[in-house]
């Protein structure tokens, strides 16, 4: 066993991890924001909008993420005229993919807020925007937290696919070290363990936030 290889290359691997985390953060935030728009379109009364949004979500649901990354990798040069940076292609593909899942999370979170809440709020003479902002959204966000956590973990895992088009994130960094040092088991184990720890931390954090939010509203936390 040559575990010292991992230590010798610790900075390189750490740089890979840092890129993985940055990519994940950008993808999670952007796709959540865009997911809200897609969800709003999907529940909209304008039929055209809701059909487009539903079609988009279903298309992404049936397509492997790797193919979506290839779409962007192959299509961006046609639009911009020059080869895209792999990082840009990977991140935009992953946002497009994750955004559809986020839209479903948002839609589910809104739907889980009972009809009675809307009606009660409207009956208290609140306007539609006030109902949404003060009554429905605070509850919906708490409902969404478990799904947002699992989507975040899924995003972190999926950034490993950027490897395929040459982005040097954690997986690629691990492979570079593997090829340079002829050390496979040790490097792969450390990379796997790193993903595991990051994802467990994210899940634990998500769960803690959810518990705190539920407790504050006096709901059960089981």
């Amino acid at each position: 066993m040559r575990w010292h290889i991992v230590l010798d290359n610790a900075w390189f691997l750490a740089a890979g991890l840092s890129r993985t985390l940055w990519m994940s953060a950008v993808i999670i935030l952007t796709s959540f924001l865009l997911g809200n728009i897609v969800a709003a379109m999907r529940v909209s009364r304008i039929r055209g909008l809701s059909i487009v949004a539903a079609g988009y979500v279903e298309l992404m649901r049936a397509t492997p993420l790797l193919m979506v990354i290839f779409w962007f990798y192959f299509t961006l040069p046609l639009l911009t005229g020059h080869a895209p940076s792999p990082l840009l292609a990977a991140v935009s593909g992953m946002i497009a993919f994750r955004c559809a899942a986020m839209a479903e999370v948002v839609r589910g979170g809104l739907r889980a807020v009972g009809k009675g809440q809307w009606e009660a709020a409207q009956a208290s003479a609140l306007g539609p925007v006030q109902v949404l902002v003060h009554v429905v959204l605070p509850q919906a966000v708490v409902n969404m937290l478990p799904s947002l956590t699992s989507q975040s973990v899924a995003t972190i895992k999926s950034t490993s696919l950027a490897y395929v088009i040459g982005v040097i994130e954690l997986t690629r960094a691990g492979n570079v070290v593997m090829n340079r040092e002829y050390t496979t088991v040790e490097v792969l184990s450390v990379v796997a363990l790193t993903y595991l720890c990051v994802n467990l931390l994210v899940s634990q954090f998500g769960q803690a936030v959810w518990r705190a939010a539920r407790r504050r509203s006096g709901l059960s936390t089981v």
């Binding site: 049936a62 492997p64 993420l65 193919m67 290839f70 479903e104 799904s147 895992k157 490897y163 088991v185």
Partner: protein, 226 residues
């Protein structure tokens, strides 16, 4: 921007091989991950604390490591053939998700049903085998369908360890012809068609078992999770 779709047609043989390879990964991984997932899911609902903890450990570990890393492990570190590295990596990964599905449906059914079965004089094994599991399976069909679709989608990762699946052929055609958009669009449509076949097959299975009417629309769609 000009598209040339005939290019894709010229490569139909490679595409067909890609479909076959993807179907093979899908079929073998489905069987393996269902077996593994059921086993782990039953461990998770066991009365022995140690077994429950073992099941829990499995789920936490294999669900939180990217499927690509798991495939790479079997390919580079263990040195398996690329097809088997991909299948085993994918099955271990999906097994963790299926285990959670199995656990939740067993817990949902077991309440009441198991006690009733035991009270009618069945042994624990009989209660599980002939009362709890068959019912649990019916409730598990909608979430398991989602998992089957995930197996299909995640099988695309196999190209990274060198399996010549459908996604691999998309890149192959792009490399040979620079017609990336046409290749990617075609392969995407093929994936959607394969998804449709899976959904259709589950629908037929449900009709044979007569569960659709029983379950209704509630809970048919589960969350996108991969």
């Amino acid at each position: 921007m000009e598209f040339k779709w005939s290019v894709v047609f010229e490569y139909r043989d490679i595409l067909l091989l890609g479909i076959v390879r993807t179907a093979e990964i899908f079929a073998v991984s489905t069987v393996l991950s269902l077996l593994l997932g059921t086993l782990i899911g039953m461990l998770r609902t066991s009365q022995k604390l140690l077994l429950r903890q073992l099941g829990g450990l499995y789920v936490e570990v294999f669900r939180n490591i990217p499927v690509l890393i798991q495939m790479m492990f079997f390919y580079f570190a263990i040195g398996l053939h690329s097809f088997w590295a991909a299948v085993i990596g994918l099955s271990l990964y999906t097994g963790g998700y299926i285990a959670e599905t199995v656990r939740s449906v067993i817990t949902a059914v077991a309440r009441g049903q198991k006690e009733a079965a035991l009270a009618s004089g069945l042994s624990t094994l009989q209660a599980h085998g002939s009362i709890v599991l068959p019912q649990a399976f019916m409730y598990a069909i909608p979430p398991l369908t989602t998992e089957l679709l995930n197996i299909l989608k995640n099988s695309s990762v196999a190209m990274v360890v060198g399996v010549q699946d459908l996604t691999f052929t998309a890149r192959e055609i792009e490399t040979a012809t620079f017609r990336g958009v046409e290749a990617a669009a075609t392969v995407t449509v093929l994936y959607i068609a394969l998804s449709a076949v899976i959904i259709g097959s589950v629908g037929i299975l449900e009709r044979i078992l007569g569960v659709r009417a029983k379950l209704g629309e509630r809970g048919r769609r589960s969350e996108i999770e991969e």
